[in-house]
């Protein structure tokens, strides 16, 4: 059986971990929740490549590795290149009959942070998607360059304070809007693209399984709450992620073959984005009278995006 039983959490909990403890990610870091879940979602052998970033530096601190699978750290920008290079070689050796264990099921996965995915590894990712390799790319989107001290990336949303887009008396933090990476990846015509969140464990596990089982290049953007740079108590990682998905700051949806859009989570009670922002230190300044208008703008953008997603889903184009 390639995929793990995820009918309910009890069944899922019989999966045996392949991502080990005593890595050095911060207490409460969502990166590891996401990685664990990906590795628990399948029984297959995994070949994983990681871009430089919090995940990579924290899980391979010489002389230790936290990975019970084949894993490689490569440059900041080219996990997609390394994973797809391995995939190409695997296929070639299979064809030539030089693999020691040709029937063993193998899946190729790349992990990158938002800095490496949205910005610095963007062209390498785009190239790998265009070449059509059979692999899954997962972005751990914590909306900043966390590993180097919280600089802004093109995934940082409007109004967030970062070390290079600081909030103060003359600025409300980042001014530019977040890049729509999901739409860009879908525009490559990829067979499976999604945005998922670890608080919704089931839709995330299902999405991971779909991506792993789908032939061709798949892309998943995952919301990864960062206790250090978003500034919240480590115990609240899941609570903050709940606020992110229930305010629709992070809608959960998939796009199949670049066209068919399915919304995977509809909050019963949509909460005002203000609640999500108020729970994090990086948005603290927005509650000052001179910057409150930014909150209204963020809310307006969210409403417009939700309207757009629903119409796209309905139109099936």
């Amino acid at each position: 059986m390639a995929i793990t039983n995820i009918k309910n959490l009890k069944e899922f909990s019989t999966a045996n971990e392949r991502f080990e403890g005593a890595h050095l990610l911060c207490p409460g870091c969502a990166h590891s929740m996401i990685v664990r879940e990906l590795m628990n979602a399948t029984d297959d052998n995994l070949v994983i490549a990681s871009n430089t970033g919090c995940l990579e530096v924290s899980t391979a601190v010489y002389p230790y590795t936290s990975w019970d699978t084949s894993w490689i750290h490569i440059g900041f920008e080219n996990a997609a290149t390394a994973a797809t290079g391995a995939e190409a070689m695997f296929k070639a050796r299979k064809r030539k009959g030089t693999l020691p264990n040709p029937d063993a099921p193998v899946k190729f996965v790349a992990f990158g942070g938002d800095g490496s995915t949205f910005d610095i590894g963007f062209q390498w990712l785009s190239g790998a998607m265009e070449r059509g390799h059979d692999f899954t790319y997962i972005c751990l989107d914590n909306e900043n360059y966390a590993n180097t001290g919280g600089q802004r990336s093109s995934a940082t949303p409007v109004g967030a304070h970062t070390s290079t887009a600081q909030a103060g008396s003359v600025s409300y933090g980042k001014k530019q809007k977040k890049k729509d990476i999901v739409a860009i990846m879908a525009a490559h015509g990829a067979p499976y693209v999604a945005q998922l969140a670890p608080n919704k464990w089931k839709s995330m596990a299902k999405g991971f399984q779909k991506a792993l089982e789908t032939e061709g290049p798949c892309f998943i953007n995952t919301v990864s709450a960062c206790t250090t740079e978003w500034k919240f108590d480590p115990k609240d990682t899941i609570h903050i992620t709940d606020l992110a998905t229930d305010s629709l700051m992070f809608p959960i949806y998939e796009i199949i073959n670049g066209t068919e859009l399915n919304i995977l989570y509809r909050p019963k009670n949509i909460i005002p984005v203000e609640e999500y922002l108020a729970a994090q230190g990086r948005y603290k300044h927005l509650f000052k009278p001179q910057y409150r208008h930014v909150i209204d703008e963020i809310q307006k953008d969210i409403d417009a995006k939700w309207e757009y997603l629903q119409r796209r889903e309905e139109a099936k184009v």
Binding site: E11, N16, A30, T65, T69, K235, T237, I238
Partner: protein, 150 residues
């Protein structure tokens, strides 16, 4: 609780950072760290206590010293929902055969996520300062809380 599973002979036996530090220019190029001492086929079907972990595997290291507060687990109230298992960022909730059996104190960093996501009333997991004895914590466990009327 099966102590044997919680205390395997390899888990958390080494203090992180205790070994001689290796400079970046001393690491051989293209170095490979083997996670296991033997070839392991079908790894995802082997439980941690059955795996031939090598000394390079972080499973053999401990981060217990990071903790100032720790979760304590009360089996009597637990409904084995596995919320704590799925969201622990440090692979420190040990579940076997659909049952939660305990906390891996060698790898737990005391983030408190498991306590927040535990749905029972009272909670089956609560945070205590590291110095509190677990038996003592269990003996003073809070009573079921009545729902506040709004």
């Amino acid at each position: 609780m099966s102590k044997g599973v919680l205390a395997t002979d390899k888990r958390g036996v080494r203090e992180l950072g205790a070994e001689k530090k290796v400079g970046w220019d001393e690491v051989p190029q293209g170095v490979v760290l083997n996670s296991f001492d033997d070839n392991v086929d079908n790894l995802s079907h082997l439980r941690p206590e059955e795996r031939p972990y090598s000394d390079f595997n972080s499973f053999t290291a401990t981060v217990a010293s990071w903790r100032v507060i720790k979760p304590v687990y009360n089996r009597d109230i637990c409904i084995d929902c596995q919320n704590c298992w799925v969201w622990c960022p440090d692979t420190s909730i040990i579940s076997r055969d659909k049952q939660m059996i305990g906390i891996d104190y060698d790898h737990c960093k005391g983030c408190g996520v498991c306590v927040e996501v535990c749905p029972t009333n009272p909670k089956s997991l609560l945070m205590f300062t590291e110095a509190v004895d677990n038996e003592e914590a269990l003996s003073g466990w809070p009573e079921k809380k009545k729902k506040e009327k709004k």
